[in-house]
């Protein structure tokens, strides 16, 4: 099955999906949200 490719293509697609998702998760964690969330009290400057 692996030799013929069905599992290779399927698992390849799933692995890419997981890799991009995990990368996106960490990228979102590292973002500076202060400009987007100006409504948050800690970002309010009087």
């Amino acid at each position: 099955m692996w030799e013929n490719g069905p599992m290779k293509a399927f698992l390849g697609g799933v692995i890419v999906m997981l890799a991009v998702s995990i990368g996106a998760f960490y990228a979102l964690q590292g973002l500076d949200w202060s400009s987007a969330n100006v409504y948050r009290s800690e970002n309010v400057r009087l």
């Binding site: 013929n4 490719g5 069905p6 290779k8 293509a9 399927f10 390849g12 697609g13 799933v14 890419v16 999906m17 997981l18 991009v20 998702s21 995990i22 990368g23 996106a24 998760f25 979102l28 400009s35 987007a36 969330n37 100006v38 409504y39 970002n43 309010v44 400057r45 009087l46």
Partner: protein, 379 residues
């Protein structure tokens, strides 16, 4: 006795005087209080037609103030977030009513309707078989890179659809089914997965677009294919089709354009208040169609429209994908091989993609001529 009676009468008279005195007219304290009541002219100008006890708000009542706030009156603020100038955004009521009302109700009816239609079609038509039986010879339909792109977009869409449907409908039945705590847990992590897997979906859209766009441009054969219903309604009918038939082309463009639209509205939801897509879109629509759609949308209205549009497109695309999964698995014999192994039976290919098979055979013949021998499809 006479003196005693006289004293009683005098005491009663003094007591009566003390009791009746306040009723005789305004005293000094009462006069001071009345002095604070606005003059009759002011009362006539009052929007509520009366004064407020204490005069705290002048002639404007609390009810009037709260009514204005409730209707979405906007003031001014000096903090960076100008949205804070509006305490109550009344359009939020419309958004919530639409989301929890017609959108949810018609959405679930639509999905259920599609599933019922497919079930009825399956009961009537049955599985579309390879009419001439399997040839035992296969032809390569999709290579590994193409199938990887398909499974990338497929796996991400299934996760997005399930977690998205949970956000829209989960609350109505899952807490009773699995408990409130379990529902809260899967919803929390489902939302997290939705926001991150979305980027894999975006990559998948780009992937399949690059891989297949040249095969999905409209052609003359598509008209004949559509007029004959793709041959799936009547046995023995096989309208000619190239590598992608008209039905697959429709699915391709719905997925690409719908996926792009989902990605844009999803981006607006992941990064709130950073985009103004609906204002721009409405302005463009107004310029082209001459409509009068609102273009001065507040950031909150932008978010609400993004959410509604995201849900509508997602429900539509989910229906398309359900039909796609049906015809690719249960509905048609031999179809899954195209995305499974990538090798399809030659008879299946001749029945459903005759023009493509002809092209492939000509290509292989040319290749054989160049190499001085014959090349057969894979077995």
């Amino acid at each position: 006795m006479g003196d005693r009676d006289a004293r009683r009468r005098a005491f009663a008279a003094v007591l009566s005087l003390l009791l009746l005195l306040p009723l005789a007219g305004p005293g000094p304290f009462a006069a001071a209080a009345l002095a604070q009541v606005p003059p009759p002219e002011a009362l006539k100008e009052s929007p509520v037609g009366g004064a407020v006890p204490g005069g705290v708000l002048g002639t404007t009542s609390d009810a009037e103030l709260w009514r204005s706030l409730r209707r979405g009156i906007t003031g001014t603020v000096t903090i960076p977030d100008k949205k804070a100038a509006q305490l109550i955004q009344s359009e939020g009521d419309n958004w919530r009513a639409l989301r929890n009302g017609p959108l949810s109700v018609y959405g679930v009816r639509f999905l259920a309707g599609v599933i019922v239609l497919l079930a009825v079609f399956f009961l009537i038509r049955g599985r579309v078989r390879i009419e001439h039986g399997r040839a035992g010879v296969t032809i390569t339909r999709f290579n590994t890179v193409e199938r990887m792109g398909h499974w990338l977009i497929a796996s991400s869409f299934i996760i997005l659809a399930l977690t998205g449907l949970n956000l829209l409908y989960g609350r109505y039945f899952l807490p009773d089914l699995i408990g409130a705590e379990a529902f809260a847990l899967i919803t929390r992590y489902g939302k997290l997965a939705h926001n991150t897997v979305a980027f894999a979906f975006m990559l998948g859209i780009a992937w399949v677009f690059v891989a297949w766009v040249r095969h999905n441009l409209p052609s003359r054969a598509d008209i004949g294919w559509l007029l004959r219903g793709g041959g799936i309604f009547v046995r023995g009918v096989h309208p000619p089709a190239a590598r992608f038939n008209a039905g697959q082309k429709i699915v391709f463009w719905l997925v690409v354009l719908g996926g792009l639209s989902l990605s844009l509205s999803g981006w607006a939801l992941i990064f709130p208040f950073t985009t103004h897509m609906f204002s721009g879109t409405f302005a463009a629509v107004n310029a082209v169609l001459g409509t009068d759609l609102p273009t001065a949308l507040t950031p909150v209205q932008e978010q609400q429209l993004s959410q509604l549009w995201h849900a509508i497109v997602a429900l539509g695309l989910t229906a398309v994908v359900i039909a796609h999964i049906y015809i690719g698995t249960l509905g048609m014999e031999g179809a899954f091989d195209a995305m499974g192994s990538g090798e399809v039976d030659l008879n299946w290919a001749r029945e459903h993609h005759s023009l493509w098979v002809k092209q492939e055979e000509e290509r292989m013949a040319r290749k054989a001529e160049r190499s001085g021998g014959r090349v057969f499809p894979a077995e």
